[in-house]
């Protein structure tokens, strides 16, 4: 299947699922709406679709705001200071203030920038992250769409986000932006390979591409999660996954595309106001997505660490807790590591990470055929 074919099928499936599928059938909210509408099923589907899309938007913008706030707080406390303090108690409304300010800020396009690409670019990463968010399984029934090829769809759409950066960088007509765009393009393409191999490993051992099914293979306590279930190999694969997602997210030590001390502001040098905040928002939503995927693939999704704690309807709490831990890990990396250089980053990917992921994939096959699992 071609790349765009996968995306197209995935999108089709997603819309199909949004209108006729999982949300409205399995979710409590969906069922309630259906109950209200009675006979009129079309109306119920439309309402359900509206609710689910609104939820997505809310999750995306809220999570980005919360993450930005926590990033600033965490970095502050790591650096022996307080971070934002003046907006609300402990500055909890800081990102809200930033958001409102950016919304009401003048946005202008440099005269020499290309109109179409300049304004198109900020929407692409945002759109990509929204599309992925739709298939993230926050709980057993808390998922907007559940396409059969879920993980492949995610991988395909994740590749889209990189285009936004390159298009924006090119459209800005700025040499710094261009350098940054080229860097991020090279980075995205190369690290995606290892990312996919890490994902493929889980698909291989679990035997599913559907995200819910992958989670269901990890049922029954902490030692059934793929990170521990595959002895050592799971952990290694998890580390690879974190490294590659870190690179995909353009965060330190791979933040070459917005390397402040080298390229000013990188690909968004020429963006101001709302367009800039789109890039900003997408970055944090993508972080949430990366952490959720790590949770889904390696940490048992919405399962509790012990089967006795698995209450139906509370899975999203476990999911959130695990995701938060991963996100904290990302924060920690960012405020600890210095930045790599472009050729070193490429070396690391092509000379180390890629062969290592391939070997681990091979080993996973061996492990699976020999049945070397911990847990049930």
């Amino acid at each position: 299947m071609s790349f765009f074919g996968t995306i197209w099928d995935g999108v089709g499936e997603m819309f199909d699922a949004i209108f006729n599928g999982d949300w409205s059938k399995e979710n409590q909210i969906g069922a309630t709406v259906r109950g209200w509408c009675g006979e009129n099923e079309t109306l119920a589907d439309w309402i359900n679709a509206g609710i689910s899309l609104a939820t997505l938007a809310a999750i995306a913008s809220l999570s980005a705001m919360v993450l930005v706030y926590f990033e600033r707080k965490v970095s502050g406390h790591m650096q022996r200071r307080l971070g934002p303090m003046r907006t609300g108690p402990h500055g909890i409304f800081q990102t809200l203030a930033d958001g409102i300010k950016l919304f009401f800020k003048e946005g202008f396009r440099p005269k020499s920038a290309d109109f179409f690409t300049y304004y198109l670019a900020p929407f692409i990463p945002m759109m990509g992250s929204f599309m992925i968010l739709a298939v993230i399984p926050f709980d057993q029934h808390l998922q907007v769409a559940n396409p059969e090829l879920g993980i492949i769809y995610v991988a395909a759409v994740a590749g889209l986000a990189g285009f936004g950066l390159i298009i924006g960088a090119w459209g800005s007509n700025n040499k710094y932006s261009l350098l940054s765009g080229m860097r991020s393009g090279a980075q995205m393409i190369s690290y995606e390979v290892s990312l996919l191999l890490a994902i493929l490993l889980i698909v291989l051992v679990s035997g599913h591409t559907n995200l819910q099914e992958i989670i269901k293979t990890q049922e029954g306590g902490i030692f059934n999660w793929w990170i521990f279930k595959l002895p050592v190999l799971g952990l290694i694969s998890f580390v690879f996954f974190i490294i590659t997602t870190n690179a995909e997210l353009n965060r330190t030590p791979f933040d070459l595309s917005e390397a402040e001390s080298e390229l000013g502001a990188g690909f968004h040098t020429e963006y101001s106001g709302i367009c800039f905040s789109m890039f900003f928002l997408a970055e944090y939503v993508n972080m949430l997505i990366a952490a959720s995927l790590a949770t889904t693939l390696f940490l048992g999704g919405w399962h509790a660490p012990h089967p006795g704690l698995d209450y139906p309807g509370l899975g999203w709490l476990w999911f959130g807790a695990k995701t938060s831990c991963i996100i904290f890990l990302y924060f920690w990396f960012r405020w600890t590591f210095p930045r790599l250089r472009i050729d070193q980053m490429m070396d690391f990917e092509w000379r180390f990470l890629l062969p290592a992921s391939m070997v681990s994939l091979l080993l996973a096959g061996v492990f699976m055929s020999m049945g070397w699992y911990i847990g049930d």
Binding site: R80, R81, W170, K175, L263, F337, P338, R339, I342, Q344
Partner: protein, 383 residues
Amino acid sequence: MDLVSAQVPAGFPETHPNELTEEFYLNMGPQHPATHGVLRLVVKLDGETVKGVVPHLGYIHRSIEKMAESETYVQNIHLTDRLDYLSCHMNNLCLCMAVEKGANIGVPERGEYIRIMICELQRLQSHLLWWATFGMDLGALTAFLYGFDQREQITDIFEDVCGARLTMNYFRPGGSYCDVPDTFIPRVKAVLEGMEKSLDEYADLVGGNMIIQERCQGIGVLTKEKAISYGCSGPVARAAGVDYDVRRDDPYGIYDRFDFDVPLGKNGDCYDRYTVRIEEMRQSMRILEQCIKEMPSEGPYRSKIKTVIKIPEGHSYANVETARGLFGTYIVSDNKPKPYRLKYRSPNFSNVNIIDEVAKGFKVADLVTVLATLDPVIPDIDR
């Protein structure tokens, strides 16, 4: 997008178009996070590879040398603060020493000890700030905060001593303008104690990091011959193997009484510049410890001088080792209270001169590393 402008920027030799690759010019600065102020670099790039760098100076040229001619010697001291504001005590000292040499003014023993201690504290402070910004330039943002946190303690001592945090204006011909307070020695002891603990940790946090090592080793190599020929000084030259430290080889004040080493680098790359500076901090702490032991607790802190200092006709020259290298003051006098001509020899001026030599052939990111390890203070270059 037109990357290759037809006009070749000033300072570059005319280039001949190449069919295989297109070179373009990138303007870094004067407002750029990596240039530590208002240095402007025009970089010729082939992709990400640096093909040539032409620095443009003068964006903070404040005509201090012209102003010096209409101010008396003591009035001039405050202007030296604003040259290299991170080693302003040393700059003050250099002007004072040149005046002392010209007008034959002596300095009492306690005054000399105060001078040495303050200067070494300043060196520590300056290197801490360099360490902080070095981390920031390489993307390790937390190092910046840690470095500044440590630096604040030394700034507090200076505030205690002379009331200012940055532009101290403390030394005078013949000593310093006031005695150190009683809290000075205990506070220095406390800082040294804290530094000893944290310096190893800090050096490990940044210098021990694998990424930093990868990014610094073998990058921006400066050979010994080039370093001498360009007139580089300070840690930059010593990292290249130039065994010259004004404190040891042309001892001013009472530096000949102390026992300290001059750290030298082997390769002259960025990592050597890093380690030399870290080691210099340790040596400064050693000097400070010796000072605390030997400093007389009683005695005058400055000699009595005339209110109007006149230097007999002729010239006098003095140089000191600031945190960045050899700082010199050259006074031409005509037996009047104001200097006829005052020339400052700034270490950064020569140190930045080498940037084209050392950054050529490396990546843009390496240019930032090189600039961070040269540690330029732009107002000192521009004067």
